[in-house]
Amino acid sequence: MIRRAGLLLALAALLGGCAEPPAGSGPITIVFKHAKILGSLDPIPGLLREFERRHPGVTVRSEPLSWTSDEQHQFYVINLDGRTPSFDVLLLDVIWVPEFAQAGWLLDLSPWVMPEELAPHFPAAVAAATWGHGVWGMPWNMNVGVLYYRSDLLAKYGMTAPRTWEALVEQAARVRAGERDPRLDGVLWQGKQYEGLVVNTLEHFWASGTSLLGDDGRVLPDPERAASALGFMRGLVERGVSPGWVTAGDEELTRRPFGDGRAVFVRSWPYALDLFETPDSPVRGRVGIAALPGHAGGAAGAGATGGFHLAVNRRTRHPDAAIALVRFLASDYGQRAIAAPGVALYPTRAALYHDAAAVRAHPGMPRFHDLALAARPRPVTPYYLMMSTTLQPEFSAAVVGVKRPEQALAYARRRLEYMLSGLR
């Protein structure tokens, strides 16, 4: 008799297990798609286990994508366009957020995430997450363009970090004349035909007091200033302030020579500092960090921001769990983990840049705080990727000198207008 009751119970449990569990209860699994995290330490597994501990019944499966940006974009587009519910939370490059939001692929988080919850993050990061009238993601990590300089060399000649590009050119000339080292270059930056060139050019546009997209949505609202900014970049190469090869230089190609002590200045991202300060680095202790210079007669310099945001797939079957995961990863606890030693990422929560433990792991953080605060996002528009790929060859043509800046910009503008007219 007892045995039969046991059997019945087991059967009932089995049947219960087959039925769809009501939302919010029972064990569920959510899938987190993200770029492979570079650097010696991956903070994600530890964070996910902590999330599971705090949310009993929720399991998170983490599925890394390849680290190349193009492949991640392609994967997301194909799958989201196919309305897949196979992943719930995704890590997005900031420049894709408005694009995916426009396509209707992301869950609008604004009913859950109040403005107060975004306030602790840097404004440039928040700007990229809030497009139109929605909140399409929570900022997770960020990058900001900064100027590194050789503090020992500048001090030797009685100089401090340059405020304008024109001053930088003069300083580079003085240091190089004094050092008489033919292998010492002036300033390195990213001039290869790729996204990095667009970022560098945008920063020169801003420093000249103009931008790529006007407030009224017009492309290149002030072509003259834009042309003079591009002309200045070409001038850096022509005058030998930058070596000719910057026209093929990407982040790593420019970071290394500076790290070997072979340039006075380099424009790069925060990750480079950790590499300049490794124990066997020739420039350890001799690197200063400054805001990107402005242009004389233009505006103060501002670095461009990059980074990744956490978003929720609109087709998710578990919106509550997915939103909880996004908020957890973007929380103070979640971002503390990416400010830990050995992680090559920088958080978006401003307070962490003065946190004792974080500063011990990354001594440059207080300095980066001010630069990130003044930083600007790339144009927040669903058309950004199309604009960038159209502009890359034209900017490159101006920088290598096969087109005059005015010519390159006029062509870019015509082409952009054609492309955008086909989409509206």
């Binding site: 995916f100 426009q102 070596p243 026209t247 093929a248 790929t389 490159s396």
Partner: protein, 290 residues
């Protein structure tokens, strides 16, 4: 037709059917789909899907970037295939002469061919490095801006492609050389033919069919070249290394203009088919079973 012949024919069709089916599913269907896509404006991100007929082709006809890509593709193909064939034959002849260490030479030769092309590209990225690169060090320490100079980037890519695929031509030719009976050469020597005459009248004519096949393969590959430029220069500087396939990739996968990108794909397809057809005719003329 006898009953036997008819049965053979049926059996032949039955045997060929799986291959035909696979080909039509894997090649014909996608090709037709791309053709259909190329007649549409389709941008999933903006929810755009409408029929535009030949609009994309009309735009391409007046698109400076497209004609630049056509020019880059043709220059790259002509230069790299010509160099690969010349060097390939030279290396095959040298291998044939070689007395010892032939096995080692063959394996070294295969190395370049066996490397995935992205690995080759990364390798050349360091070889061409302006200050630390082996190429500049060997050339006397000049800081030559290989990949950032609009005049040097394409030649730089051609050199990388030749390094990578010349072994393929060399091995094909070498295999053919091994099958030329030694008596032919002996007879030539008896007749007092010079080395140059032997090469011109015996070796090269006998290599001709295999060279045509190598030419066909290499040309079709070079017309579709993508990975080297994608990794090394991204099509730059100033689009001087942007081939048709790179242009198609940028439109299709980076900016997701599926219709427009497909139109470029159709042009590449037409170009490759035309070249293949011309070669196959030449091959038939040369008496090689195609």
């Amino acid at each position: 037709m006898t009953a036997r012949q008819r049965a053979d024919r049926r059996a032949g069709l039955a045997f060929a059917a799986p291959a035909m089916l696979a080909l039509s599913a894997l090649a014909a269907y996608p090709a037709l789909w791309v053709l259909w896509l190329s007649l549409q404006q389709r941008v999933p991100i903006f929810g755009i899907a409408r029929f535009v007929g030949l609009d994309h082709f009309v735009f391409l006809a007046g698109d400076a970037r497209f004609w630049n890509a056509v020019r880059v593709t043709l220059v790259f193909t002509l230069a790299s295939v010509a160099l690969e064939l010349t060097l390939g034959v030279a290396v095959a002849l040298a291998l044939q002469r070689q007395r010892s260490g032939r096995r080692l030479a063959l394996s070294l030769l295969l190395l370049g061919w066996a490397l995935p092309s992205v690995v080759t590209a990364k390798l050349f990225e360091w070889l061409y490095h302006p200050s630390a690169g082996l190429v500049n060090v060997v050339l006397g320490g000049h800081a030559i801006n290989w990949l950032g100079d609009p005049r040097l980037a394409l030649p730089g890519l051609v050199a990388a492609d030749v390094w990578r695929t010349m072994p393929f031509v060399a091995l094909l030719c070498y295999a053919r050389l091994l099958t030329i009976p030694i008596e032919v050469y002996e007879a030539a020597r008896v007749d007092g033919a010079s080395r140059a005459a032997t090469l011109r009248s015996i070796t090269l004519p006998l290599l001709r069919p295999i060279l045509l096949i190598a030419l066909l393969f290499r040309t079709l590959d070079a017309l579709r070249a993508f990975d080297l430029m994608f990794v090394l220069t991204g099509g730059g500087p100033a689009n001087t290394t942007e081939t048709l396939t790179v242009y198609a990739y940028r439109s299709l996968f980076q900016t997701l203009q599926l219709g427009f990108g497909a139109a470029i794909g159709v042009v590449v397809f037409a170009l490759v088919m035309a070249v293949a057809w011309a070669y196959l005719r030449a091959l038939r003329g040369a008496g090689v079973a195609a």
